[in-house]
């Protein structure tokens, strides 16, 4: 099921999902050893973490395993979180690392499975119905194209273009060089584009001209 992040149920003024101070306070309590605070952090961030894990792995079971492992690592290393980045960004990096490990493990045991189509609903009122339908359609197709990518390519394009992580962080969490991350990103983008806008026959031009 897909929903818009801005319309998550249960939002209120002191919700750590929308209040950075509330989030920082929770993190500080968790760092001081308050397990209840860490539980609240999990409650507040697990949907986002799951979303990233699901996008990286393309599989619900794998995503759940990744989320569990990511929070265990976060629990063990929360004392080292210095608050320079947002807690969610820190979790993205841990999740990316866990997903990379999980996919490496899975690759040895089973074939890639194509996930079911995602139903995307865009509820933002500022979009007119036609643009909304068009954007929604393109997003659905992009999400499907992402799921068809090989996991190594999917990981870089999701982390860079969807979650806006820097190349350096992506390379570090996936255990590859920065240049390898950039090469994979180019290949991934090209594949997604080819999937959405299939290449024309040789010699065929949009304007009917040859260059």
């Amino acid at each position: 099921m897909v929903t818009d992040a801005g319309t998550s149920p249960g939002s209120h003024a002191r919700d750590p999902r929308s209040d950075p101070e509330a989030m920082a306070a929770l993190v500080a309590r968790a760092q001081a050893g308050d397990d209840k605070a860490f539980e609240e952090l999990v409650n507040a961030t697990h949907v986002e973490t799951y979303t990233l894990a699901r996008r990286l792995t393309g599989d619900d079971d794998d995503a759940r395993d990744v989320v569990q492992e990511a929070y265990l690592r976060a629990y063990r290393s929360i004392g080292r979180f210095r608050g320079e980045a947002r807690f969610s960004t820190w979790m993205y990096r841990i999740t990316a690392n866990c997903a990379s490990t999980q996919l490496g493990r899975r690759r040895r045991h089973r074939h890639e499975e194509l996930a079911e189509d995602l139903v995307v609903v865009d509820t933002r009122p500022e979009l007119d119905p036609v643009a909304q339908a068009d954007a929604s359609d393109l997003r659905t197709r992009v999400a499907a194209a992402l799921e068809e990518l090989p996991p190594k390519l999917r990981a870089v394009v999701v982390l860079r273009d969807v979650y806006d992580l820097p190349h350096e962080a992506i390379a570090a969490e996936l255990g590859i060089s920065e240049s390898a991350a950039k090469v994979r990103l180019h290949r991934a983008r090209r594949k997604v584009k080819e999937r959405l806008f299939p290449a024309r026959e040789p010699g065929e031009r949009p304007d009917g001209e040859d260059h």
Partner: protein, 124 residues
Amino acid sequence: MRVACDDLTEQLATVASDDGALDRGARRHVDGCLRCQADLVQHRRVLRALRSLRTEVLEPSPGLVTEVLAHIEEGSERHAIRSLLTGRRAAYIGGLAAATAAAGAAGAIVLATRTKGRRLPLAG
């Protein structure tokens, strides 16, 4: 140098993502090439669609938080047991090392004493 559409494939993808810019020759080519312009528009549409995914969340089926907390508890218990075992192992190895050192020292003293005893008559 004449720029061909195929030479720009990589560059257009990079430009669309704001990671770079076209050089003058490439820009001139794109300005007059509908194919490359269409390519650039497609790259930008893909990128916009990718970025728009950021605002969406995929709802997990119920029970994930419970699974996470159980995994943390289990992991913490395993960790504690491992720490305990590591601590015991360290104590055992430390004790063994201390005993070996003590035995070595005692042996050295005995040897030194015997050597000293044998040398005394010669010295007299």
